[in-house]
Symmetry: C2
Subunit: 384 residues, 2 copies
């Protein structure tokens, strides 16, 4: 059916009607008082969302642009960095750091498992001459549905004292509690098409005073992504380069909605969506790709064995107009991923699970107990 598409991929995520309407407003000039007022409001609300007094800067870029800004502004060629790699986006961090001539020391874990925090502690403790300039991880690994233990890894970084903690929070920000100031996270990169509930096109970077100190001596060349220029402009509620005015106005609308819901409610909702999804998947006898302990509230990966992932995705898309994500790289065809972050309600999970059950029936999946998925999800909702 046309125009009935329901996005349950980990980005772009569903966008509320009032945000789409804000997006469709005729642009205004970006060097005007009207736009400065919007920037002032948006910046204040971004700090609220990031739970920080640090600068939160807005870039015209994908999440990867924000990640790059988080590296090139604070490091110099040859700097040693510890990079956590347990999925596609951890690998992207490593590739990005290598492209800029950093000395990359990877801490790897199997895709689908969380990073081992002890390995970080050991490397950091052994680094007595403080060669490690940054520890870089992906908070919620979108490719596998794993949430890494940022709080513990960051504690080891704080004990080290010298290294910056740099985080890709692209699918965690606005879905998972990430108290930047309480934990003392130096650099956090994120993107608009995830928890923010707006379309792709904006990147965000929060920067701590310690990171700004590093900025002063960081030697990687930069211009478009020079965060010093953004900080200077932000002090005047402005931008160094033309911002995507319509997306910023959409962001204003989305942040107001998030404030109305409240941070605790947002995080509780994502926890609930995750638990309902996971309990339903278990009740349908489909193997979850990540363990309960390592599960991301943003996305659930499923690794079916007696039925093809790609067949499930195809029927879900064709019969029920639900877009699920497939696996990436070596997981292509082996898993499917259900995004449940951003503008997603309890009802959406029931729609998805109901459709998944119907899909499994259609595909003749043998282990199916009809209705078991919905029953399990409903139980989670009844209890929370």
């Amino acid at each position: 059916m046309d125009n009935k598409l329901m996005l349950m991929i980990p980005g772009p995520t569903p966008v509320p009607e009032q945000v789409l309407l804000a997006l469709a407003k005729h642009p205004i000039g970006h060097r005007t008082g009207d736009f400065s007022a919007i920037m002032a409001e948006v910046t204040q609300n971004l700090k609220w969302l990031h739970q920080t007094e640090n600068d939160v800067l807005v870039l015209t870029a994908s999440g990867t642009g924000a990640m790059e800004a988080g590296i090139i502004n604070f490091l110099s060629p040859g700097d040693r960095v510890l990079v956590g790699c347990n999925g596609k986006f951890g690998d992207r961090w490593a590739d990005l750091c290598a492209a800029f001539g950093l000395d990359v020391d990877k801490i790897t874990a199997e895709w689908g498992k969380a990073l081992d925090t002890e390995q970080f502690r050991e490397k950091l403790t052994a680094d007595t001459d403080k060669k490690i300039k940054a520890v870089i991880i992906t908070h919620s690994e979108t490719s596998t549905g794993v949430l890494n233990d940022l709080e513990t890894i960051n504690r080891h970084v704080k004990e080290h004292g010298e290294a910056l903690m740099i985080v890709d929070a692209v699918t965690s920000l606005g879905a998972v509690n990430l108290p930047i100031d309480a934990w003392g996270i130096d650099v956090v990169a994120s993107g608009s098409q995830k928890g923010y509930m707006i379309p792709p096109g904006l990147g965000f970077v929060s920067v701590s005073p310690k990171a700004w100190e590093a900025y002063k001596t960081a030697k990687l060349p930069r211009f478009y992504l020079d965060l010093g220029l953004y900080k200077k402009a932000a002090a005047k509620n402005s931008n160094p380069f033309t911002p995507p005015v319509n997306l910023v106005i959409a962001l204003q609308a989305a942040l107001r909605m998030m404030q109305a819901e409240g941070l605790e409610s947002i995080f509780a909702r994502h926890q609930r969506l995750m638990r309902a999804t996971r309990e339903a998947i278990k009740a349908l006898s489909l193997p979850l790709f990540a363990s309960d302990e390592a599960a991301s509230p943003a996305i659930t990966a499923v690794a079916p064995v007696s039925v093809e992932s790609e067949q499930i995705r195809a029927v879900m898309r064709k019969r029920f107009d639900i877009a699920l994500a497939g696996g990436q790289d070596h997981l292509k065809g082996k898993i499917f991923r259900i995004g449940h972050l951003g503008f997603v309600s309890d009802r959406d999970i029931l729609s998805a699970i109901g459709s998944l059950e119907a899909t499994l029936q259609e595909l003749g999946y043998e282990s199916l107990t009809p209705g078991a998925g919905i029953a399990a999800a409903a139980r989670v909702f009844a209890q929370s």
Copy 2:
């Protein structure tokens, strides 16, 4: 009056209703057949607009991000470059090149004058050991309303044989004839909020085979703006990083409108808008900042003497809901700029000139012959 704003700044420019409605459609996944089909169409139409068979790559970035991509992919630290500087955006080219450690040789002209093509010829002819790796200019200098003579400068670059011709066409593409293949321009950067008739957020870079040769040995570090990644993805109608789906769908709508109008008609319209604006300004005894020979079809700068620029802008904005641009840097308060590129019609010029006349009456401007501006503009329209 609310919601009556008329943008006559050089970007963001007015956006057609059908493009705004396309922008407001719910996003779709970027790794889908549906989106690949859109990318395929958009890429083909971009080549048509650029009058080229070269790659035209789409970035999530402002125009400055596209400019940066045009440098860091093709040059190495220490490379000598000739940069034309006769306005804010020429200066930006020089700053950008300096930030990346290039050896910048500036060819300057007074703001409001065109670059002297002879100076390029002399420097290029003198460079017998081919140290100059690129000649970099701004085609339409947005800050002053000057159109530089790209065709002649490029001819000298071709005679040199070694240097790449790199051009900021942010306010010329889609407004001024720029036959990339006929002239052999290597790298052309542009942005969406100008002639493209869509909001800001997309950057474009066209790349010649000669520039791709230079890419192979260029040593500046890059990742997010690595055009090789975009070329590889574009071959599969895809993107290396999440594209701003809604802006791409808006671009699809805008490019269809441009194709329906036709390139020659688009260029003729911009010529007509420029001539009508300039004749009207002359008839109002207001000094034009650029000469007729150096005038950009995208924007007209006016340098009033017996009446304040900023007062004119304030009354235009407040009484008639028309946004004009002010001067930048040392021209602040000295000029105002009328943008007439993109989705601008003959009627819009009459609205702007009529409102300007009314503004001048209100400000008690002594040299005013009431009605002379409209009469002059109407004469241009009658003759063309």
